[in-house]
């Protein structure tokens, strides 16, 4: 049973467009929602994260939108660049995040110039 669902599986955008990646979760105890990105041949790395105390978190061109009522959160990549081409994973964990993160299946983003 997938506790964190991610869509789409792959996404192609043109340079300058906004890429939107979506995730939903089921476990109400989840209260930490990071996004990781992974470039080919590399390991995953934290991109941006949010806690439910807010419904929006921005870091440069990357923004997380969070909807606690619907148990959904999304990553918006504004002004997409070819260098943003990577696989993006949403994840979630409960307050006791020592138990590790539960990851979505990933979205492969391709940005064409």
């Amino acid at each position: 049973q997938q506790q964190v669902r991610q869509s789409p599986q792959s996404l192609t955008v043109w340079e300058g467009e906004t890429a939107i990646l979506n995730c939903s979760y089921e476990d109400s105890t989840f209260d930490y929602f990071p996004w990781y990105h992974q470039f080919p041949g590399e390991s995953p790395a934290l991109l941006i994260a949010i806690r439910p105390v807010s419904n929006k978190k921005e870091d440069g061109r990357f923004t997380i939108f969070f909807n606690k009522r619907e148990k959904k959160f999304s990553l918006h990549i504004a002004d997409s660049q070819p260098g943003d081409s990577a696989t993006y994973f949403c994840a979630a964990s409960a307050y006791n995040y020592a138990q590790g993160l539960t990851f979505g299946l990933g979205t492969r983003v391709s940005v064409f110039p």
């Binding site: 990071p34 390991s43 590790g100 993160l101």
Partner: protein, 115 residues
């Protein structure tokens, strides 16, 4: 910056073989994890540990054992490897101090092929 190193980086074995994947972190993190990454399945947690001598079962533990010998070292053991365990394995660590973000710091990955 967090440093997590894995060895070997590549390993080929045969069905029924015995494999040990090693992970060392040098950031005094208490928490360490083993994940496997497979196309179509994302990253799945195998085992994790809160500290030396502690072991916890993750989401896909079958066929795997783990041992945490020190705060720095975490090992994943496949005693009877099967082709279904062909995968890319990542070790990760995270801190647990004040202001803990829960951020995972991943190693470089270990690619295991079971023939």
């Amino acid at each position: 910056e967090a440093a997590v190193t894995q060895s070997p980086r590549n390993k080929v074995t045969v069905t029924g073989g015995n494999v040990t994947l090693s992970c060392r972190q040098t950031n005094s993190h208490n928490y360490m994890y083993w994940y496997r990454q497979d196309t179509g399945h994302g990253l799945r947690l195998i085992h994790y540990s809160y500290g030396a001598g502690n072991l916890q079962i993750g989401d896909v533990p079958d066929g795997y054992k783990a041992t945490r010998t020190t705060q720095e070292d975490f090992f994943l053991l496949l005693e009877l490897a099967s082709p279904s365990q062909t995968s890319l394995y990542f070790c990760a660590s995270s801190d647990d101090g004040q202001g803990n973000t829960g951020q995972l710091y991943f190693g470089e990955g270990s690619k295991l092929t079971v023939l």
